[in-house]
């Protein structure tokens, strides 16, 4: 397994280089260093001299990919691409174009994102699976039909509606908890409950339908019939046999998400004033802050590759037949 993991890490290197090049090219097709300087310097009294100063100070006064005027290896190394990218592979994200340390910002903002995303995932997963098993229990009945119609209705409603509706009813009308905000430590609980509840509820329709499909596929298999023949009740059959055997597709969907939980949710964090990473990349794109865009895309790619690896490893844990080699 260790050689498999090492191999996967080595495969990741060209992928990350490719992603980095792609991000770089796409960003600089749309923005030039002069544009970036103008954006950072504001709209008043911006002169060409000020733009040149900004570029020099932030290392954008060299060519993008190839420095024809330089000598030897400096043709490659004295470029924006090289100077801004090498540190990434050592997880040195550097300083944003507005002057803040990106690594420190990510560290500070990742935890609030996780505080919301992790309970939402865990509670959502348990709720979705339990409800899906209940629906499977009542398969081929009007209760199942009703449940599915309800799921489709829940899926069809925008998550924004759940957020605004949830805030309106719970925080404004009933006044049970703050409408938005965040705090450190245990004080965060009162701010986290509402977004988590809404997150779970808004994902219920699609989650239940997805897991129901997985369970229905399993429920007609021979081993399930054998379990029933042994005299197990339907609930025992579902929870003890069907659920563990449906774990591979469940894990495929869930484990890959785990590292991405750090990246946060844009809308949820924005409406609930959670100081997470959700809007970090979007704000950076709007501000033409290439340093942040590049760092976040790189981090996203690393986490995704890591998530896929975790998924593969988790297969071996839930299915003894799977061997990584």
């Amino acid at each position: 397994m260790i050689s498999y993991i090492i191999r996967r890490f080595l495969y990741a290197i060209p992928i990350l280089i490719g992603v980095n090049i792609l991000t770089f090219v796409l960003f600089f097709i749309v923005n030039s260093p002069d544009d970036m300087a103008r954006m950072q310097l504001g709209q008043k009294h911006v002169t060409q001299q000020a733009i040149n100063n900004w570029k020099q100070l932030h290392g954008y006064d060299v060519p993008l990919l190839w420095n024809a005027k330089a000598q030897g290896e400096e043709k490659l190394t004295k470029t924006i691409f090289y100077q801004k990218s090498v540190g990434l592979f050592m997880f040195r994200f550097g300083t944003s174009d507005s002057g803040r340390n990106i690594g420190a910002d990510i560290k500070e903002r990742a935890w609030p994102s996780l505080t919301i995303a992790l309970p939402t995932l865990v509670i959502g997963l348990i709720t979705d699976i339990c409800v899906a098993l209940m629906v499977v229990l009542f398969r081929s009945s009007k209760l199942e039909l009703g449940g599915m119609v309800l799921c489709v209705i829940l899926m069809s409603i925008s998550s924004l509606f759940y957020i605004i509706g949830g805030q309106f009813v719970i925080a404004k009308i009933l006044r049970w908890m703050p409408i938005s905000g965040y705090d450190d430590g245990f004080s965060a609980i009162k701010f986290v409950v509402l977004p988590v509840l809404i997150g779970v509820f808004s994902g219920l329709g699609s989650g239940v339908r997805w897991y129901r499909t997985l369970f229905l596929e399993e429920v007609e298999k021979d081993y399930v019939r054998t379990a029933r023949a042994k005299g197990l009740t339907e609930t025992q059959t579902l929870f003890r046999h069907v659920l563990p055997n449906a774990m591979i597709p469940i894990l495929t969907g869930v484990v890959v998400l785990l590292p991405m939980l750090f990246m946060g949710s844009l809308i949820m964090e924005s409406f609930f004033s959670i100081p997470g990473l959700g809007s970090y990349t979007i704000d950076a794109i709007n501000m033409q802050d290439f340093a942040i865009v590049r760092a976040m895309v790189f981090l996203g790619s690393v986490l995704y590759v890591f998530g896929l690896l975790l998924t593969d490893i988790s297969y071996t844990l839930v299915d003894p037949r799977v061997r990584l080699s």
Binding site: G42, A50, S98, G103, M134, P178, S180, E234, S270, D283
Partner: protein, 716 residues
């Protein structure tokens, strides 16, 4: 059966457990977003929707940055809080500056010397003694008198994550040299001050200094002299500027000229601190009424009373009706009144508005989606709705010193140029675009239509008939009335476009409107613009591009029509008319004259007016310039936005001030009333919870029953 009984017991206990939990909380305000221990304290709760980018007074230049640092840093002068028109008064200075005019030989001239004789102007500024900086680690001293944190090792730096991690702070008296040092910081290219390039034109020796220190680190500028800025004594410094530039006084009331101790750069410049975001750009060191106690621009910013704040008292004079409004009740009392200010980041309007209605924000603007809930127009004036009045909320309005205009590119072959035909075309379009309608539809009446370059409250602005743009409006029934569209059509005919037909193509004249807005929300506005020009038979094509392309078009002069805005740096007509000065044309000189307007007579008058002190003669020049611009119509004088602010009844001493930002120190809170009303407005409603619980129990019981019967059925 026993098992079922146990389950039932648990079920019975849940509501009691829940009730117990609730009694442990403060039931009266479960939705209170603030800690219980803050109740009753003099803490002002505000929101912000855009995180500040810079908090260094040499760099910050945006309103959202000034909202914080204007409470922390203090320039030598400030605007009087209550008097109008806006008036400068000393802040850290002990008196207004001595202004001396000098000729080329450096000899003193009389105060009324002709402008052409004045080669330099000296500003001699005396500062108050005994003003001290806020407690800060950069100023902390050891028992030996050395700076405690100026030589940090790598290991020491590793232990610090925020400024609060430093276990000692210190302070010292502000001296004239600190003001000089700050001006040197403005000049250092590595500081990236937005006014550096402009100040090179005014402050003597600024450009040379900048060139001299460009290779030096920021910490090395302290002992490098700048010829035009010198410290004369411990409490006096002199700034020498080239020629006469009366507006320089306004710059001295801006945070760019606040004092900065050299120790700040020495402290923050140490290796490793910037990796922790411990920089001067994020942790200010000022002398103002407040200090930044918590800096998390992604969540909240907290200002706390500066224990070293010098003596400053509430103004004792104001406008005639300030007394009756209660704005002079605290006259002569020591500032500030509020102990702490908590700014919370609220990006979305719905939670922000809800928190205001719940009493958790003390003041609020009005977003367009909640406007009807808050304000109604009766007889043309804005009034609060009954639901707001019931909560004793007050409305304050003030016209901003900003202008939003639609510009014509004067270099364009169709709409530009100075021929009579082109002028008439622009005048016709100025009449056709009905800004009163735009204000009513798209801004809920929160603006006034522009009559010229200047917004109200700027010297030279004229009210009434004399201040009306005669090319677009008639004065009827004591108010301006937009000219009939027939007049505009007649102008179109005279311009060579009868019924909007372009004689070259024999089809409708096509004009292009360049904009950066491209979202679906902007479409109604674009359709509205199209309809306005359709009145003249003109076809308007919207060219929406991204910000970079738009800026590029403007720099190259490829735009035709565009919308642009300007927010005053200071309340002087020069700060608006320079937007049309030929020497500032965007294409030729890269300046702020986006229309590329160049009229020799206007330029001559501008050059004469800009260096004058306010006087009847200056007022006359301003009116002449207004007339030239109204006639040439390089702009359609769009609108001046109106600020609407809602205040709770416990928020006292607030008077709108569209120029000054350091106003928090004057404001006061009635915390008893706030606590009482917050409790009254936020009692939670529990009966739906019990209903929900009962429903869940029934549902659960039904599910258990259904599962059991199905299991039994399967077994059978």
């Amino acid at each position: 059966m026993p098992c079922l009984l146990t389950k039932c017991k648990i079920l019975y206990q849940i509501p009691f457990l829940f009730a117990l939990l609730l009694t442990a909380c403060d039931l009266s305000q479960l939705n209170n977003p603030y800690p219980k221990e803050q109740k009753g304290q003099a803490i002002l709760y505000q929101s912000f929707d855009e995180r500040p980018k810079h908090l260094d007074p040499a760099v910050a230049y945006s309103e959202n940055e000034y909202a914080f640092i204007a409470q922390i840093y203090e320039p030598p002068f400030q605007y009087h809080y209550l008097k109008r028109p806006y008036q400068l008064v000393p802040l850290t200075a002990s008196k207004m500056p001595d202004i001396q005019f000098l000729n080329k030989a450096g000899e003193k001239l009389a105060p009324n010397a002709p402008i052409e004789d004045i080669a330099f102007t000296d500003y001699l500024i005396d500062i108050q003694p005994s003003i001290r900086y806020q407690p800060h680690p950069a100023l902390a001293l050891t028992a030996n008198g050395d700076y405690a944190f100026h030589r940090l090792s790598v290991d020491q730096v590793a232990n610090f994550n925020t400024l609060a991690d430093f276990n000692a702070t210190g302070s010292r008296e502000v001296v004239a040299e600190d003001y000089v040092y700050q001006i040197k910081r403005l000049a250092h290219p590595k500081t990236q001050s937005p006014i550096a390039e402009m100040m090179k034109n005014y402050i003597v020796g600024f450009g040379e200094f900048s060139e001299k220190v460009k290779q030096l680190p920021k910490t090395a500028i302290k002992d490098v002299p700048m010829t035009g800025v010198t410290s004369i004594s411990r409490y006096t410094y002199r700034i020498r500027i080239a020629g006469k530039y009366p507006q320089f006084m306004y710059w001295l009331a801006m945070l760019f000229f606040a004092p900065m101790p050299w120790e700040a750069d020495a402290f923050y410049g140490q290796p490793g601190l910037s990796d922790k975001n411990i920089t001067l750009d994020w942790y200010p060191i000022g002398t103002g009424a407040y200090l930044l106690a918590e800096n998390n621009p992604n969540r909240r910013m907290i200002l706390e009373k500066n224990p070293n704040f010098h003596l400053e008292t509430y103004p004792t004079e104001g406008e005639p009706d300030d007394q009756s409004k209660g704005l002079l009740n605290d006259a002569g009392k020591r500032l500030p009144f509020i102990d702490k200010v908590v700014f919370t980041l609220e990006k979305e309007t719905i939670p922000r508005w809800t928190k205001f209605l719940q009493g958790y924000f003390d003041a609020s603007g009005i977003a367009s989606d909640s406007f009807d809930q808050a304000v109604q127009f009766t007889g043309g004036s804005a009034e609060l709705t009954p639901s707001m009045l019931e909560k004793k909320i007050a409305l304050q309005t003030s016209v901003e010193t900003s202008t939003f205009y639609m510009g014509f590119n004067m270099l364009d072959a169709t709409v530009g140029g100075y021929s009579e035909q082109a002028r008439k075309l622009r005048q016709a379009i100025s009449i056709a675009i009905d800004y009163e309608e735009l204000i009513s539809i798209f801004r809920n009446g929160r603006a006034i239509a522009g009559q010229g370059v200047l917004p109200p409250s700027i010297y030279g602005y004229e009210e009434g008939k004399a201040g009306v743009n005669p090319y677009v409006y008639d004065w009827l029934a004591d108010k301006p009335q937009r000219k009939d569209i027939g007049v505009a059509r007649q102008l179109m005919t005279e311009a060579g476009y009868p019924n909007g037909i372009d004689p070259k193509t024999h089809e409708a004249l096509i004009l292009y409107f360049d904009t950066t807005s491209s979202s679906i929300d902007d479409r109604p506005m674009f359709n509205w613009y199209r309809k306005q020009l359709e009145k003249l038979g003109i076809k308007l094509v919207i060219r929406a591009t991204d910000y970079n392309r738009f800026q590029d078009k403007m720099r190259k002069g490829n735009a035709q029509l565009f919308v642009w805005g300007w927010n005053a740096d200071y309340p002087d007509p020069e700060n608006f008319f320079f937007l049309l000065y030929g020497g500032n044309a965007k294409v030729k000189f890269g300046g702020e004259n986006a229309s590329n307007y160049q009229n020799p007579e206007f330029d001559r008058l501008f050059e004469q007016m800009r260096n004058m002190d306010n006087s009847p003669q200056r007022f006359q020049l301003i009116q002449q310039m207004q007339e030239i611009v109204r006639h040439d119509a390089p702009w359609i004088f769009g609108l001046h936005p109106k600020q609407f602010t809602l205040l709770h009844s416990w928020f006292l001493n607030r008077k709108p001030h569209v120029i000054a930002n350091n106003t928090l120190k004057y404001q006061r809170l009635d915390t008893v009333a706030r606590t009482q009303l917050q409790q009254e407005w936020n009692r939670p409603i529990f009966w739906p919870l019990l209903l929900f619980f009962a429903f869940s129990v029934i549902l659960f019981a039904l599910a258990v029953y259904a599962v059991r019967s199905r299991t039994r059925k399967t077994l059978q």
